[in-house]
C-alpha cells in the first residue's frame, strides 16, 4: 500500500515535470560574461539535466518585446537591463519567478522581485592609470573627477544619462539620498563643466579598460568587472570605489518561452552560492545569495562591489523606468549642443 502510494507520488512528480528538451536558449550580453556563466552555471546545468545550453547575445529589450508580441519566443532565459526589467514587468513581457523552484531565501529582501531574478551586483566606478596617479593621488570622489586642475588628463565617461547625471549631482554637492528625483537643469549645468575634458563617450562596456590600456585617457568611468579583468591581467589600472553607482544584473523568463520550466531550473542553478562564488571570482560581479561570499578567495574579495556598498549608492531603476526616455532625449540634446 505504502509502496504503491510512494510510486504514485513519484509518478505524479514525474508527470508534473515537462519533458526534457534537447536544449534551452539563454540570452546574455556575451563576451567574458558568457564564458564565466558557462563555467559557473551552464556546464553544471548540462551535466545535471542532460539539456544543452545554447547561448545567444546581446541582451536586447527591443528584441524581447518583438519576440513576445509576435509569439515567437526563442529565448528561455534572458538578461535584461535594470530599468528595462521594470518596464518589461509593466508591459507583461515576462513570466513570474517560481519560488518553489528558485530558492531566494538567502537573498536580501529588496532582491526578491516576483518577476525579476537578480543575478549579480555591479557598479560604475572610477578606473585610473596607476602610472599617472601614483600613491593615492588619484581622484577619490566625483568632485575630484570634476576638478581638472588638480587631476589633469583626458577622461572617458559613458555615452548615456544613467550614472552621469548622478555623478554630476554628487560632484555638485548633492547628498546620495537626495539624488532622486534628478534635477536635470542642475545635473546638465554641472556636466557642461566636464564636457570639454571628456575625450571619449564610451558606448560599449569593454571600451573604458581598453582606453586606459592604450592611454587614450587616464581616467575612465566603467563597470567594475571590466577593470577587474584588466587588473587580473596585470594592467596598470586601479579602481576607486567611493561613490560608485550600484546596479543589479537581472535575468527574466520571456512570457511564452518554450521551455519556461527549464528556464526556472536555470535560474535555480544561478542562485546556488557555490556557483555564484565561481562567477564572482571570474568577473568581479558577486551574486545576491549572501552565502556566496563564504566561498570566495580572500584575494578576490577586495574587488567585489558588495564590500563597499555603504560607500556607494543604488541607481533607482524605477525612476528611470518612468523618466528614462526624457533623460535620454535631454542627454542627446546636451551632447549636440555646441560647447
Amino acid at each position: 500500500m505504502i509502496g504503491s502510494a510512494a510510486a504514485l507520488a513519484s509518478r505524479g512528480a514525474l508527470a508534473q515535470e515537462p519533458p526534457k528538451p534537447a536544449s534551452i536558449v539563454v540570452n546574455h550580453s556575451g563576451g567574458a560574461m558568457g564564458s564565466a556563466m558557462r563555467k559557473a552555471f551552464f556546464n553544471g546545468f548540462e551535466k545535471k539535466y542532460g539539456i544543452r545550453v545554447v547561448e545567444t547575445s546581446p541582451a536586447d529589450f527591443g528584441k524581447l518585446r518583438a519576440m513576445v508580441e509576435s509569439g515567437n519566443v526563442e529565448w528561455d532565459v534572458t538578461e535584461i537591463g535594470g530599468q528595462d526589467a521594470i518596464r518589461a514587468t509593466e508591459m507583461k513581457l515576462v513570466e513570474k519567478i517560481d519560488d518553489k523552484i528558485v530558492d531566494r531565501s538567502k537573498y536580501p529582501e529588496k532582491a526578491r522581485s516576483p518577476y525579476v531574478f537578480a543575478s549579480s551586483v555591479y557598479t560604475t566606478i572610477i578606473g585610473y592609470r596607476t602610472d599617472v596617479f601614483k600613491g593615492g593621488t588619484h581622484p577619490k570622489s566625483w568632485a575630484d573627477w570634476w576638478d581638472v586642475k588638480k587631476f589633469p588628463g583626458a577622461r572617458s565617461m559613458r555615452d548615456h544619462p544613467t550614472d552621469n547625471l548622478e555623478f554630476a549631482l554628487l560632484a555638485d554637492g548633492v547628498t546620495p539620498d537626495k539624488i532622486y528625483p534628478i534635477d536635470f537643469d542642475r545635473a546638465f549645468k554641472k556636466l557642461d563643466q566636464i564636457k570639454p575634458h571628456v575625450n571619449v563617450w564610451w558606448a560599449t562596456g569593454q571600451q573604458p579598460a581598453q582606453l586606459l590600456l592604450d592611454k587614450e585617457v587616464v581616467l575612465a568611468t566603467g563597470w567594475n568587472g571590466r577593470f577587474y579583468d584588466l587588473i587580473k591581467k596585470g594592467g596598470p589600472v586601479e579602481i576607486e570605489w567611493n561613490q560608485g553607482a550600484l546596479k543589479q544584473g537581472s535575468f527574466v523568463i520571456p512570457r511564452g518561452a518554450k521551455n519556461a520550466y527549464w528556464g526556472q531550473k536555470m535560474l535555480a542553478e544561478m542562485s546556488v552560492p557555490q556557483q555564484q562564488a565561481i562567477y564572482a571570482t571570474e568577473l568581479g560581479y558577486p551574486g545576491l545569495n549572501l552565502e556566496a561570499l563564504n566561498y570566495v578567495d580572500a584575494k578576490v574579495k577586495p574587488y567585489l562591489p558588495t564590500q563597499y556598498i555603504d560607500k556607494q549608492f543604488w541607481i533607482d531603476d524605477s525612476w528611470y523606468a518612468a523618466n528614462g526616455t526624457k533623460a535620454l532625449e535631454l542627454w542627446n540634446a546636451w551632447k549636440l549642443k555646441k560647447a
Binding site: D60, V200, A203, Q210, D214, K215, E216, N332, L336
Partner: protein
C-alpha cells in the same frame, strides 16, 4: 535637313526608339521570383515600418522628427558627414580605381586586395586596427613624434576625423569598383585616337577619361552617400561618442526607449532623404549620358 546634304545617303536616323510597354511585361516574367523576394523581404517591412510611424493615426511623430531642433541637427550632421565622406571617397577612389584599371594585371590584383580588404574584415577588427594606428599613443602619432615632426600627438581618433577615416576606409571599395568598371569599359582606341589627334596626357584625362567615366563616378558617389547615411558602429566607436548620426538615434529609439513609432518616423524620413538623393543622382546621370 534634306537628303541632298547627305550625298544621297539615307536621312538622319531618329533618336533610338524606346522600348514599348508590352516589352516590359514579358521581360518581368523571369524576374518574378526576384520580385516576390523583394516584396517579402524589402517592400513589406518598409510598408510595415511606415505603418508603425502613423500607428496612432496622426503625423505627430513626423512633426517631432522634423520639428525639434535636436533631430534636425542630427539630420544635418548625418547629411554633412555623408557628403564629406563622399567627397573624400571620390578624391581618393577615382585615382585609385583609375590606376587599378590601367596598370598591369599583377598590380591590379594587389590593388584590388587592398581595396577590398575592409569588406572582408569584421567591423570590430577594422575599428580596433584604426584605434591602434590613430590613437594618441598610436602608431602614426608615435612615428611622427619620433621623427620630430610634431611635439604633441595629433587627435586623429575619437573625433570627427576618426569617423571620416573609418567611414572612408569601409566605403572606398564602393567608389573604386564603379570607377574601375567605367575606365575598363572605355574603348582604348578612344585614348589612342585622342593621342594621335594631338592631345596631351592632361587633355586626354579631362576631355576623354573624365567625361566618359562620369557615370561610374555618379554611381560610386551615390552608393557611398546613401550608405553613409545609415552608418552606425563606426561613428560610435571611432568618434569617441562625439559624432551623432541618425542611425544611432534610431537605434536608441528601438532598443532603449522602445519608441518604435518614432523610430519608424525617423527611418521614414531617412528613407525619403535617401531616395531623394538617389533619384537626383539618377536624373543627373541620365542627363550626362545623353546630352
Amino acid at each position: 535637313m534634306s537628303s541632298r546634304t547627305a550625298g544621297g545617303l539615307p536621312p538622319p536616323l531618329p533618336s533610338p526608339v524606346r522600348r514599348g510597354r508590352a516589352g516590359w511585361g514579358r521581360a518581368a516574367l523571369p524576374a518574378l521570383p526576384a520580385l516576390v523576394l523583394l516584396f517579402a523581404f524589402f517592400l513589406f517591412p518598409v510598408v510595415r515600418m511606415l505603418g508603425f510611424s502613423i500607428e496612432d493615426g496622426s503625423l505627430d511623430w513626423y512633426a517631432k522628427a522634423l520639428g525639434e531642433e535636436l533631430y534636425l541637427r542630427v539630420f544635418w550632421n548625418t547629411f554633412e558627414i555623408a557628403l564629406l565622406v563622399t567627397v573624400i571617397c571620390l578624391l581618393v577612389g577615382y585615382p585609385l580605381g583609375f590606376l587599378i584599371a590601367t596598370t598591369t594585371p599583377g598590380w591590379a590584383t594587389l590593388g584590388f586586395i587592398f581595396v577590398l580588404l575592409p569588406l572582408w574584415t569584421s567591423v570590430l577588427v577594422r575599428t580596433y586596427a584604426w584605434m591602434v594606428l590613430l590613437g594618441r599613443n598610436g602608431v602614426f602619432n608615435r612615428w611622427l613624434i619620433e621623427a620630430g615632426v610634431i611635439a604633441d600627438p595629433i587627435p586623429m581618433l575619437n573625433n570627427f576625423t576618426g569617423v571620416l577615416i573609418g567611414m572612408v576606409h569601409v566605403l572606398l571599395p564602393y567608389m573604386v569598383l564603379p570607377v574601375y568598371g567605367a575606365v575598363r569599359r572605355l574603348d582604348p582606341a578612344l585614348v589612342a585616337a585622342a593621342e594621335g589627334l594631338g592631345a596631351s596626357s592632361w587633355s586626354i584625362f579631362w576631355r576623354i577619361y573624365l567625361p566618359l567615366t562620369l557615370p561610374g563616378i555618379f554611381a560610386g558617389a551615390t552608393i557611398v552617400f546613401v550608405l553613409s547615411l545609415g552608418f552606425f558602429i563606426t561613428p560610435a566607436l571611432l568618434g569617441g561618442g562625439k559624432v551623432m548620426m541618425l542611425a544611432v538615434l534610431i537605434e536608441q529609439q528601438i532598443h532603449q526607449t522602445l519608441n518604435w513609432p518614432f523610430a519608424a518616423a525617423l527611418s521614414a524620413v531617412l528613407l525619403a532623404l535617401t531616395l531623394g538623393v538617389y533619384s537626383l543622382a539618377q536624373a543627373f546621370t541620365r542627363q550626362e549620358a545623353r546630352p
